[in-house]
């Protein structure tokens, strides 16, 4: 009996052990690949090394955005021990840990929030919890370091903007990465990175500036402790950017606008490079780097002059008379007018069979005018007539070729498209059909037509180029390493406007006459050392809705916008400008045109004066972090503050109706 039972047991045992071996075969042979990979993943860890952010220079190598060293506290979650004493190291320990660390080093709520989102994903990677430690905090942490085995103090490069308020709308600023930023970037590339571009070039060229994170591939044990380095890859620093901006011209532009609200765009028509892009008032981008304080932010946000708003490409204004040369070219091209055809201006324009009168700014009338004279005198009647006979469809589609009603595609964020109205647009928007009177108003750059200063500069560049259209851009060149020459980017062309060269010449001659005796900007054009083509414009603001009544401010805000567009030298255009001064006390010819002239002088004759900024001796080596404050900048700051105090209540201003331009 026993022997039978023993043999049966022996056979069962044989099969049981074969079953175990079968299982082992399954793990070691069938699923070997999978488990090998898991094993490798277990002991290989990538520790990211954040790249150094590229610097930003102007076209001459003047440093606009630099980085300096700062101290950062980083935490590896896996090294946070059992803080809450439940015998395990879990996410719950993180809260206790933060409270303990926060007791000796002040931590900000938003930093903690960001830290927590990242710590959930990455257990073995160092994650910043506090940036920009003060010297005192560095000392405090150094003393307490043994109490925080999971925390390390690292040296990082941090952004600063040496020119403070200057060109802040173009350069933009970086800020702490938030959860929203993390969603649109490659998370693995940004693990060790603390800041990301939030506005301006910093945001639009984030990809170039950031660079590629490096890493140490290390072998770790189960506790995340480093055993050996398997391989390493140095980070690749971000590219240095060279903007088309001439910072000295930019400073001039901001100085010329002074305490006024307004914008200036200066471009090189030959390649589309933006030479200056000013929007006043400006702000100090350095405030944003480590999170702007609530107080600072509130005062910037509630300032009725809206310093954060980039008027040059977000501000939309009626272009006014500045578009008359382009309209003239359109009229010639569409054979609505000829160079010799004349219109009699009795001081008004009336549609046949209607009572409504469209007034010319000159009530006495200009008499019999041809196109050239109409541009020089900015005769409204001539252009009422031209637009009416051309019809909105042809008008709108031709002006779109000058870039109106669409984004220029400049490499800066938040550009506005403006509006080039059309029949379809009005029907869609207002559910009302297009009236012939609408077309008449459009003919002098009023009515529904709105555009940005950038679009005006772009359009006048096209005139200067005789139809060749290049995309406006601020990035001129890049370099990958500090010691190499910057590589220039090629301008991007659009489809050119191909019309008879004589049409361009005629429009440009008209614009030249604007700057001469008898022209609307004769004072601004006087005594120029080169030939200037220009066109003034004035848009009368009418109507206000919402907000409290404030007599003093209302009066100012109802004043006209003064505009000027132009380029020089006429025979070889090197600079095209668009100037807008909001609610100016004078007309385009009186206020905006002299600004345009001074810019041209500054750029073409290099009249920058004593305070001209020059590139540092060796490009790439950061100068002292204490930059010389520009006198003009501080003046602007003061005046901005004054306005802020003066007007506390917020008034929403809406252009409801704009009466005929008047020049």
């Amino acid at each position: 009996m026993f022997n039978v039972r023993a043999i049966v047991a022996g056979i069962i045992i044989l099969f049981a052990l074969l079953a175990i071996l079968g299982r082992v075969y399954q793990l070691q042979v069938s699923q070997h690949e999978q488990y090998s990979e898991l094993s490798r993943q277990h002991y290989e860890k990538r520790i990211p090394i954040p790249p150094n952010r590229g610097q930003i220079y102007d076209r001459n190598g003047v440093l606009l955005a630099d980085s300096h060293t700062q101290y950062v506290l980083e935490v590896v979650r896996d090294n946070i021990g059992d803080e809450n004493g439940d015998g395990r190291s879990t996410l719950a320990d993180v809260d206790v840990f933060i409270a303990r660390l926060g007791a000796i080093i002040p931590l900000q709520e938003k930093d903690i929030r960001l830290f927590k989102t990242q710590v959930r994903r990455f257990k073995y990677q160092p994650i910043p919890i506090r940036v920009n430690l003060t010297e005192e905090e560095i000392a405090v942490f150094a003393v307490n370091r043994p109490r925080f085995p999971g925390v390390s103090m690292e040296v990082r490069m941090e952004r600063y903007y040496p020119l403070i308020n200057t060109a802040s709308h173009v350069i933009g600023y970086v800020g702490r990465i938030d959860a929203r930023d993390l969603e649109r970037v490659d998370k693995d590339e940004y693990i060790g990175t603390t800041h990301i571009g939030k506005s301006g070039v910093e945001a639009s060229h984030e990809d170039r500036l950031h660079g590629q994170a490096g890493y140490h591939l290390i072998e770790v044990d189960a506790h995340g402790k480093k055993q050996s380095v398997i391989s390493e890859q140095e980070p690749i620093g971000g590219q240095d950017l060279f903007l088309g901006l001439d910072i000295n011209l930019q400073i001039q532009a901001e100085k010329l606008l002074g305490a006024e609200r307004g914008a200036i765009v200066a471009m090189d028509p030959s390649n589309g490079e933006v030479l200056a892009l000013a929007s006043m008032p400006t702000f100090d981008p350095n405030l944003f780097i480590d999170g702007i304080s609530q107080k600072d932010y509130t005062s910037l946000r509630d300032d009725p002059d809206r310093p954060l708003f980039n008027r040059a490409l977000q501000g939309t204004y009626p272009p006014g008379s500045t578009i008359k040369p382009m309209v003239g070219v359109a009229g010639l091209a569409e054979r609505v007018v000829t160079p010799g055809s004349r219109v009699y201006d009795p001081g008004f324009f009336r549609l046949s069979g209607q009572k409504h009168v469209f007034r010319c700014w000159n009530k006495r009338g200009h008499g019999s005018v041809d196109l050239k004279y109409a541009i020089q005198q900015s005769c409204d009647t001539y252009f009422y007539d031209l637009a009416y006979r051309m019809g909105i469809d042809r008008f709108s589609s031709f002006m779109s070729r000058f870039g109106f009603g669409e984004k220029t595609g400049i490499d800066l964020p938040s550009e506005a498209a403006g509006l080039m109205p059309s029949k379809e647009w009005k029907e869609r928007r207002y559910k009302r059909s297009w009236f012939p009177g609408d077309t008449v108003n459009i003919g002098i750059g009023q009515g529904y037509w709105i555009s940005t200063p950038l679009q005006l500069a772009h359009a006048v560049s096209i005139v200067a180029n005789h139809g060749i259209r290049l995309k406006p851009h601020v990035l001129r060149g890049v370099r990958t390493t500090r010691n190499e020459e910057e590589k220039l980017l090629k301008p991007e062309p659009f489809a050119p406007i191909e019309v008879d060269q004589r049409f361009w010449n005629l429009a440009i001659q008209g614009m030249e006459n604007v700057m001469r005796p008898g022209g609307t900007a004769r004072a601004a054009g006087a005594g120029a050392a080169y030939r200037i083509a220009g066109k003034t414009g004035t848009a009368q603001v009418f109507g206000l809705s919402g907000g409290k009544y404030n007599a003093g401010r209302l009066a100012k805000r109802l004043r006209d916008h003064a505009l000027f567009v132009g380029f020089a030298p006429v025979d070889n255009p090197k600079i095209a400008v668009a100037v807008i001064v909001e609610n100016s006390s004078g007309s385009g010819g009186h206020t905006a045109a002299p600004i345009g002239r001074k810019l041209m002088d500054a750029y073409l004759l290099q009249q920058y004066g004593e305070n001209m900024l020059k590139p540092a001796g060796v490009v790439g080596v950061s100068p002292e972090p204490e930059p010389e404050p520009e006198p003009v900048v501080s003046k602007t700051e003061k005046s901005t503050k004054k306005v802020t105090k003066k007007s506390q209540s917020k008034t929403k201003e809406k252009l409801k109706k704009v009466r005929g331009a008047r020049d």
Binding site: M1, F2, R5, I20, S39, A222
Partner: protein, 370 residues
């Protein structure tokens, strides 16, 4: 030659030892020590301590191989009785460690449940040696009661693993005694039906969860599941030929918990691969078969039943451990016999093989000598 080297009493004593089994056991022990050396990160001290355990075990093996089955039979009743009394004492005045009351303090901590691993099969074998075989139904019921009393006492500590081992060692005796296949089949069916019923209707939610974790450890990756997950990675990444001795990443980078005790099989699998496992399992199979063979040569019924049960129990430890480590069976704290680090296990197993050897018929050995 042997006569010249050793005193004559030792020569006589050594003749009771089965040289074939001892040789294979030695191979296994050697393999075990090599694995332990790797698993403990070249901790020579630990390997030395384990060698001392084996030396003690070897001494006990030789000592117990001298004891005849008649002598052992006389010990059965009182060993069992003392064991039960001690188990009851444990529940009353026992020492609690890690949430379980398993130890008694008598100058040192002893674990009476270990005694029962031997006492229970001895007692059941003793009971059947007095009765006609194959056993009658009433005898089987009484034998089952002899098994159940200590099993429940140990379960109460709680020590599920040991109580299971104690119970099976008793069941193996009943099986070897010739319990009818019908009853065995009925028992299996009964358990197969009762267990799910118990699970669905007789348990609280928390108990059910515990059972679920037992059978699906990977559902609890932060607790028990972590062990199984890591050991599967260790074994799987070892592949057909292994990563080589001392080369296991999982083991040496500290990912594998309990790697020198209950989970040493994973270290072995990672470093020696499928080929190593084939050799290891062959050694075990040979040892078990040899044990069963020696048991069949036992002096009397008691000898055969006890020897057979001890051999099958040895297999059962092996099966439960390797099944657990490879993720086939629930996690129960059972060491890999003769390979895992640990004095008690090594010493008692070696002793058991001594007992098996000692209970063989003496006549044949005298014949071989003459």
């Amino acid at each position: 030659m042997i006569n010249g080297l050793f005193p004559s009493w030792l020569v006589v004593a050594l003749q009771r030892v089965d040289a074939v089994l001892l040789a294979v056991l030695s191979l296994l022990v050697f393999l075990g020590l090599a694995t332990l050396y790797s698993a403990s990160d070249a901790n020579l001290e630990q390997v030395q301590r384990q060698s001392v355990h084996f030396a003690i075990g070897l001494g006990l093996l030789v000592l117990f191989s001298q004891i005849s089955s008649k002598t052992l039979r006389q010990w059965a009743v009182w060993l069992y009785s003392v064991g039960v009394v001690l188990l009851i004492l444990v529940l009353i005045v026992g020492v609690t460690k890690k949430g379980a009351q398993r130890w008694l303090y008598i100058g040192m901590d002893i674990q009476p449940s270990e005694i029962m691993k031997l006492a229970v099969p001895m007692m059941v074998a003793y009971y059947f040696s007095e009765k006609p075989l194959p056993p009658r139904f009433t005898d089987i019921v009484i034998a089952l009661l002899l098994v159940l009393v200590p099993m429940l006492l140990v379960m109460k500590q709680p020590d599920l693993g040991t109580s299971l081992l104690i119970a099976t060692s008793g069941f193996f005796v009943i099986y070897l005694a010739g319990m009818s296949w019908w009853l065995i089949g009925g028992g299996v069916i009964f358990i197969g039906v009762a267990a799910p019923l118990m699970y669905f209707f007789g348990m609280h939610e928390y108990q059910r969860q515990r059972v679920e974790t037992l059978f699906d450890p990977e559902s609890d990756l932060l607790g028990t599941g972590y062990h199984i997950y890591q050991s599967k990675i260790a074994i799987g990444s070892g592949g057909a030929y292994g990563k080589g001795w001392m080369q296991g990443d999982q083991a040496h980078l500290d990912f594998l918990p309990e790697r020198h005790t209950d989970f040493i099989f994973a270290v072995f699998g990672e470093e020696f691969g499928l080929v190593g496992n084939l050799i290891l399992m062959s050694l075990y199979l040979f040892i078990i078969w040899r044990g069963l063979y020696l048991a069949s040569k036992g002096e009397d019924t008691f000898a055969r039943l006890l020897g057979g049960s001890l051999s099958v129990s040895f297999f059962f430890y092996l099966f439960v451990n390797t099944g657990m480590v490879s993720g086939l069976l629930p996690v129960v704290g059972v060491p890999l016999p003769l390979v895992s680090y640990g004095g008690t296990s090594v010493v008692t197993l070696m002793m058991a093989f001594g007992i098996i050897m000692g209970m063989r018929k003496r006549k044949r050995i005298y014949q071989r000598d003459s």
